[in-house]
């Protein structure tokens, strides 16, 4: 119930002081199934930030579970989102998109995004246009608890017209025009990481994108981890911890959970999967068939991986390991 408050959805522009996720504090294990995590922390109508690592560590496992649970009226927040937002939009989970780019990075346009934005299929969506920088700055402002951050990007563009959340203002020192980017505070941010302990102290490396700002700005964080490690192993490198565990609502152990996007040190990108999705999602029927097969036709992520097949996993698995030099945190 307190937990619900921690991810309560706020109408309009998000307040830039998040509700204190009180019940999240404390040192109980937050390990849970992806099913439970999505059921409890992604209520209908919530604003959800995901796909924060740009083309890498996209939490597809969580996205598919959101679709299976038939979540509705979500506000999706993310920089480029790749294929994931297109899937959530096509499945009817999304009321509004706050993003810099929505489509299929390797193949181009997102067919479901087009159908929804152009023809209201499966239903109309609201689009809040950003650039990668303004989205990053909005999340940074949220993470700072600052109401907004000014930028000189996007002056003179249509984005200032179509995105009513941005304000044109004047730098009181130089008198020059600036764009004010209001704080973006997701109800919940879903981040995929390499390793976490049961409390949500977690390590992410490789492509960061806006993952840190997204996690710090959010009212609650769901951590999806390739590996669950003992606490001492994570806290042996406190500088690498992505977000203080007091912000973490749930920790989910879901190996391969970012496929078909890559995860540094664990697996590469399944290029063909993105290409096939692009072809198969051209028509609503084609997308439906894709959805039935890959998402609704399986009970969970394990089911998705079985469909993908062990040969594919073996092909994508990282085989050449490049380890960093350990850091000495010795204190005496």
């Amino acid at each position: 119930m307190n937990r619900e408050r921690a991810v309560k959805s706020y109408p309009g522009r998000p307040d830039c002081v998040p509700a204190r996720p009180r019940s999240i504090l404390g040192f109980v294990s937050k390990l849970t199934s992806l099913k439970d995590a999505v059921a409890r922390f992604v209520p209908d109508g919530a604003s959800v930030c995901l796909g924060t690592g740009l083309e890498a560590v996209i939490p597809f496992a969580a996205g598919h579970e959101i679709i299976r649970q038939g979540k509705r009226d979500l506000t999706l927040i993310g920089p480029i989102s790749d294929m994931l937002f297109d899937q959530l939009i096509g499945a009817g989970c999304c009321r509004k998109v706050v993003a810099a780019w929505v489509g299929n990075v390797i193949a181009g346009l997102g067919h479901n995004y087009r159908r929804a934005a152009e023809r209201g299929v499966p239903h109309p969506i609201e689009v809040e246009d950003h650039s990668n920088f303004t989205l990053a700055l909005g999340l940074l402002a949220g993470s700072l608890g600052a109401p907004y951050i000014p930028t000189r990007s996007l002056l003179g563009t249509g984005i200032l017209e179509s995105n009513r959340s941005l304000k044109l203002a004047t730098d009181p020192w130089s008198g020059e025009p600036v764009v004010l980017v209001p704080a973006i505070v997701p109800d919940v941010s879903i981040v995929h990481v390499q390793r976490s302990d049961a409390e949500g102290n977690c390590h992410l490396w490789g492509t960061l994108g806006v993952s840190r700002e997204a996690a710090l700005a959010a009212r609650a964080v769901i951590v999806i981890a390739e590996e669950i490690r003992p606490r001492e192993q994570i806290l042996a490198d406190p500088n690498l911890v992505l977000v203080p565990s007091l912000k973490v609502a749930a920790v989910v152990h879901e190996p391969w959970g970012a496929l078909p996007s890559p995860c540094q040190g664990f697996y590469g990108r399944d290029h063909d999967f993105f290409m096939r999705y692009h072809e198969e999602s051209r028509s609503p029927e084609g997308f439906r068939a894709w959805l039935d097969k890959w998402v609704l036709g399986v009970p969970d992520w394990k089911g998705f991986l079985d469909l993908l097949g062990t040969e594919t996993l073996e092909r994508l698995r990282v085989k050449e390991h490049h380890l960093s030099d350990p850091l000495d945190y010795g204190a005496r």
Binding site: E55, A100, G108, R114, N132, A136, G156, S162, R269
Partner: protein, 252 residues
């Protein structure tokens, strides 16, 4: 030695990169152009990627996306998207590459909405980092396929600002970056007039002519006095491009 339009586009793009410059690279042809420039005339150029990466040398194998693990391993810096965009806003980035669905005579790019944005005929993916590069880089180079319907008198929506309606528009709206310096298409190469800031034809690719290019341009095209064929791709350049794209995924 014959080559494709895209191979020539990559080579022409590479020639826009100066040695020691900071280049905002991105995916596809620009990634190949950066690799080519590094191995020819710009060994000291640095590449930036909006997912948070600074690279001295391109990844050993050309990645499909900038976030593929090979593009991170061996990077000079792997940081946040915000910190990379910050280098743009600090004015440190010499040049960036941008593509677009529509361009107009002043090099404004639209990758957001075809038609009225309130009731779009086509919803395009959006800015990504394009709007930021166009706003903040010291200069930028546009790479896109040329078709008449994409080369508009005026774009429906400015996602990535070029020279607006020309002259000192950028200064008037407060943009610090210098705007587009070149437009490289499947048919030809354009630059922008120093005063009017209007695009004009400087060279046409093999098999093209002033007329054939004009036929695929949606405005009354200005042409350079010394217009001629785009400089040929050299054997050495082509070998490098093909070694970076052995399957021809990007350039065939």
């Amino acid at each position: 030695m014959t080559y494709t339009d895209r191979e020539l586009m990559v080579i022409a793009a590479a020639r826009e990169i100066g040695d020691g410059e900071l280049i905002f690279v991105g995916m596809r042809l620009p990634l190949l152009a950066f690799a080519l420039a590094k191995r020819t005339h710009a060994p000291r150029a640095l590449g930036l990627f909006e997912n948070g990466i600074v690279r001295e040398s391109p990844a050993p194998e050309t990645p499909f996306t900038i976030s593929d693990p090979p593009n991170i391993a061996g990077a000079l810096w792997s940081t946040t998207t915000g910190n990379i965009m910050a280098l743009l806003q600090q004015g440190l980035v010499d040049m960036g590459f941008i593509g677009g669905a529509e361009v107009d005579r002043y090099g404004n790019l639209n990758t957001s909405y075809i038609g009225d944005w309130k009731r779009p005929k086509v919803k395009l993916p959006g800015s990504g980092g394009g709007g930021d590069i166009a706003s903040l880089a010291t200069r930028f180079v546009i790479i896109m396929p040329q078709e008449k319907h994409r080369f508009r008198e005026r774009v429906d929506y400015i996602t990535s600002p070029g020279h607006g309606d020309g002259r000192d528009w950028r200064r008037k709206v407060g943009l610090r970056g210098g705007g587009p310096s070149a437009l490289i298409t499947t048919l030809a190469m354009f630059r922008f007039h120093p005063d009017t800031k209007e695009a004009y034809l400087v060279s046409f690719h093999p098999g093209q002519s002033v007329e054939s290019v004009r036929a695929q341009t949606g405005w009354d095209l200005k042409v350079a006095a010394d217009v001629g064929p785009t400089p040929e791709a050299t054997h050495a350049e082509l070998e490098i491009v093909r070694s970076c794209d052995p399957q021809g995924f990007w350039t065939r």
